[in-house]
Symmetry: D2
Subunit: 138 residues, 4 copies
């Protein structure tokens, strides 16, 4: 079970990440070390051709990994991304995106995980991210 | 000399990357294989503490590398990011950001380069990105 | 089912990657788009403290991804690594390593996949790699 | 000026990284936060076609960044690589390689830098690496 509630996470995002909050992502699942989010499709997220812009996907992946970190360390609100490596694999559809994140290593100073991005109702991965978060001193 | 003018690049960004265009980045220099951009500071780009959000920096780096690609291949408007690896090194100041991008390898199918991000008037690097663009079939 | 046999893959490694071949890695499973390898522990692979050196793990991950590529494209022997991103998560044990690789995207020009490394009989991931291979012209 | 001598660095490599030491890399320059190394060409480092194997280049880049770390923190012998991101840009020649490494950010817990690899007497970059080292507790 996640050590932070979905409601509390959304509150933190609104307070600390207004840019990300503006996307209106929904939390589908939040377990300890795991999260699944949904990003509704909006026209202003697109690049030419009507597909979701890369930076929006990066922001989405980053938010999901932040939730994964807080699902294990609810007090680590001050955690910050130190590395984000994103591979864009396919053009996403003109539809909502689903992100699945999981923690691969929670150390004393760093958390490392991966986030997979899909177009809703399509099994082919659209983008893959690995992220490292620097944890606040404990 | 860049094979694309700054004016033409800004036009392409407005047409194809409306999300990035909304940041209002300025082109300081655009040479063949090299670009220097400035991102004015705006309050709505920030995360808590008033510093520029990571996803904004990623979008900025991505736009600069896109300019670097077009400075060599003015017709490669359909190029797309295939990898972006971003390392966040320091908290940026509450000020404009400067990005310096350069091409490290232009192949037949892929372009690879790096972008360094700074807070204006501060020599310490804030973030470092390497990017691979997939070029359209030629 | 893999489109290349384990025997044929080992033969290719001996011919084209003598450095990697010298490690004596064993193929546990080779399916279409998936591979599981075992790297026996040898004293000369170690860094101080008796644990397997990082470059050995990178070479091992690279070989496993090469097998994953050939499991789908048996004729793509001339494929070469264009990006390897490796995250070292834990100190490995003084024991054999297991690598699990899978294809995440096979395009016309690029193959992208991930490889997870473990110490044998230990569920905690030791290292995580993502790799891009450039495929030969087809 | 480097805070560690070339002789002391070579001694540490022999003691702690016997695998890397076996390559016989030479130190051309070692300054504070900067290093330039040369890797003599040997037949057993090659992959088919006689060019230096990718894992050898990764091991070389890793050693150079280790020297860069020690040039600033001579006592941080216990530093370990936490991320290595390598982009292979061109096939290297059948000749010695030159690596140029520099520190981009030295934090309290992490050091981040880049290493550029060239074939000797050829200005075109062969491979580019960014590396993060986790520093021992201070």
């Amino acid at each position: 079970m996640s050590r932070i509630t979905s409601e509390r996470f959304q509150e933190i995002v609104r307070e600390t990440l207004p840019f990300a909050a503006s996307f209106g992502a929904e939390i589908l699942e939040l377990e300890e070390g795991r999260a699944r989010f949904r990003l509704p499709f909006k026209g202003d997220m697109t690049r030419q051709g009507g597909t979701i812009a890369g930076p929006i996907m990066m922001a989405f992946a980053d938010m999901v990994m932040y939730a994964v970190v807080l699902s294990r360390l609810p007090d680590a609100v001050a955690s910050v991304t130190s590395n984000l490596t994103m591979n864009f694999l396919r053009r996403p559809g003109q539809t909502a995106m689903i992100a699945e994140g999981r923690m691969l290593r929670l150390g004393r100073r760093l958390a490392f995980g991966e986030v997979e991005l899909f177009s809703e109702n399509d099994p082919d991965m659209v983008a893959h991210a690995t992220l490292t978060y620097a944890l606040p001193g404990r």
